[in-house]
Amino acid sequence: MAIKVNQEECIACGACLSVCPFGAIVMQDEKAYITEACTACGACVDTCPVEAILREKEDKVVAMDKHQYKDVWVYLEVGEGKLRNVGLELLGEGRKLADGMGQSLASVLIGHNVERLAQDAFAAGSDKVYLVDAAELAQYNTDSYTATLFDLISNYKPSVILMGATNDGRDFGARVACRVGTGLTADCTGLGIDEATGFVSWTRPAFGGNIMATIICPEHRPQMGTVRPSVFKKPALDYTKKGELIRVVSKIKQEDMRTKLIDMIHVCTVSCNLEEAEIIVSGGRGMCKPENFSLVEELANVLGASVGASRAAVDAGWKPALHQVGQTGKTVGPKIYFACGISGAIQHLAGMSSSDIVIAINKDPDAPIFKMADYGIVGDVLEVLPILTEEFKKIKSA
């Protein structure tokens, strides 16, 4: 479905140039031309006042028989012997998609000694759980997990697969999609069903969060996407719910794994598990000195919160990179996000815009963070933070 300009109709008004998010239209000799940067998003088609821009239908090569593929799958990532929250969050969303499509919801559980986790999947709404449990799968490995999920897809043919946009999810999700030869939409923050076609519509931020794109995967199955953690709420767990457990024998052998995890270094305690945090207290350049970061940590302590940092604070060496929130760091979505002395560059906002409530403290009333904040205090963060910490202490002990 390429976009074409009918040069005879084009009046060189330039309307299409300004709406193209990809800068893929150029004016030459008073006519608009589409360049190879075009992604066929169609933004220009609706804008053209003389209907000179058309969406050309191309004969798609039918890649696969789509009707063989059914059910919505959620890949459940295991971390420290437990299901990561994002898997449960996706079961909530997956349930809605499955119901909307009139299909079943299934979970994929890969690991060793993880059978007991299937009950959490049923409690979160899963109708089925595909369990691949083997000693070789005890640790995440790109090769073994890719091969295992690929095998499941080949045998059971799901229509949709949701995975968490975690480091591991993004690592092998792309490989699986490529091996299957299907589309994968990365780091989604919105899921729905396209009314006209019944396809899953995947919505995700692009251009550093400046724009949102809704993506579909019309002719290939399964329709795959990774979804950002903490964007969706965990469904209420109901342990009276039961489902079908399908045990699948692993074909993985030790020699199939070309990389090997030698050791894990846990530098993280609660304080930097930002992805799963309910409350995050983040500090930025406005903290002025590394010593002052203790003010951020004290508030976090009182609230049982994780500690985040802006890129400026990480670049200055005040906090290790694992704490960084933003486009180059982690994307978070807590219930409450405290931005302390953070001006709110677009890259930072891209990493925390799915927070429920944002509370900002900054001395500059024009700081962009206030546009994003639900509550803002204009004032010196070094003065405000200790008082805020004291007040929360009082509330907690009350």
């Binding site: 990365a186 579909i216 990389t259």
Partner: protein, 261 residues
């Protein structure tokens, strides 16, 4: 050691603004840059070359103007640059892009390591690296923050949500790097001038062993249905009292009124 680095020319998303009237991206005046993570990838490659010797080749798929980005990489110290460019590649999603780049890498021939940045700042997918590795059938390690090569063994620190994992692999390998791995070097003026004179070879569809059905828009399973600007958050409450004490107590009151605490 033969090292390939895949780079992308991207608009500097920090400079992208939204036109408040038309609600569309203002691209005018937005500079094109080498994707920042790709510079970390190139720096990692150059450091390995400094230590072990060998050759660093940078590859990019993009429009003709992406040569500028490749020249910057040459100025930083890459030995060779190749642009993969053809109208037929236009509109490619990650699957079609990685298919095309993998074909170009096969044409380059031998390699020990392929480096990528963890993701590009315009698309943010982090998918093209792993998909290239899959097309080539080689192993990968993503989110790498430290790398050491000993003979044919590669030992890395990979970022996890909770910390770092030490992972070992054998060459050939595709590695995607995070920003904290290094500080990319600046090109000297002399090197920049020299790079500007280099004629960068352009490989088109005809130069690659590819199936036309798998290229560009045609070869892309995903389609962009709609582009829109994210809804603005409703304007919040801004508190600015004479003292920090007063501001905090107003905030606490408001939070408690809204039943947040």
């Amino acid at each position: 050691m033969e090292i390939l680095v895949c780079i992308k020319q991207v608009p500097d998303t920090a400079e992208v603004k939204i036109d408040p009237v038309t609600n569309t991206l203002i691209r005018q005046g937005v500079p094109s840059i080498v994707n920042p993570f790709d510079k970390n990838a190139l720096e990692a490659a150059l450091q390995l070359k400094d230590k072990h010797g060998g050759k660093v080749t940078v590859i990019s798929m993009g429009p003709p103007q992406a040569k500028e980005a490749l020249k910057e990489c040459l100025a930083m110290g890459a030995d060779q640059a190749i642009l993969v460019s053809d109208r037929a590649f236009g509109g490619a999603d990650t699957l079609a892009t990685s298919y095309t780049l993998a074909a170009a890498i096969r044409k380059v021939g031998s390699y020990d390591l392929i480096f990528c940045g963890k993701q590009a700042i315009d698309g943010d997918t982090a998918q093209v690296g792993p998909e290239i590795a899959e097309h080539l059938g080689i192993a990968q390690i993503t989110y790498v923050a430290k790398i050491e090569v000993n003979g044919d063994t590669v030992s890395v620190e990979r970022e996890y949500e909770e910390g770092y994992g030490i992972i070992e692999g054998k060459l050939p390998l595709l590695i995607s790097v995070v920003k904290s791995i290094n500080e990319p070097r600046y090109p000297t003026i002399k090197a920049t001038m020299k790079a500007n004179r280099v004629e960068i070879p352009v490989w088109t569809m005809a130069d690659l062993d590819v199936d036309e059905q798998k290229l560009g828009l045609k070869g892309s399973p995903t389609q962009v249905r709609r582009i829109f600007t994210p809804p603005q958050r409703t304007e919040g409450v801004v508190i600015q009292k004479a003292t920090a004490w007063e501001s905090v107590s107003v905030l606490i009151q408001k939070l408690s009124d809204a039943k947040i605490i």
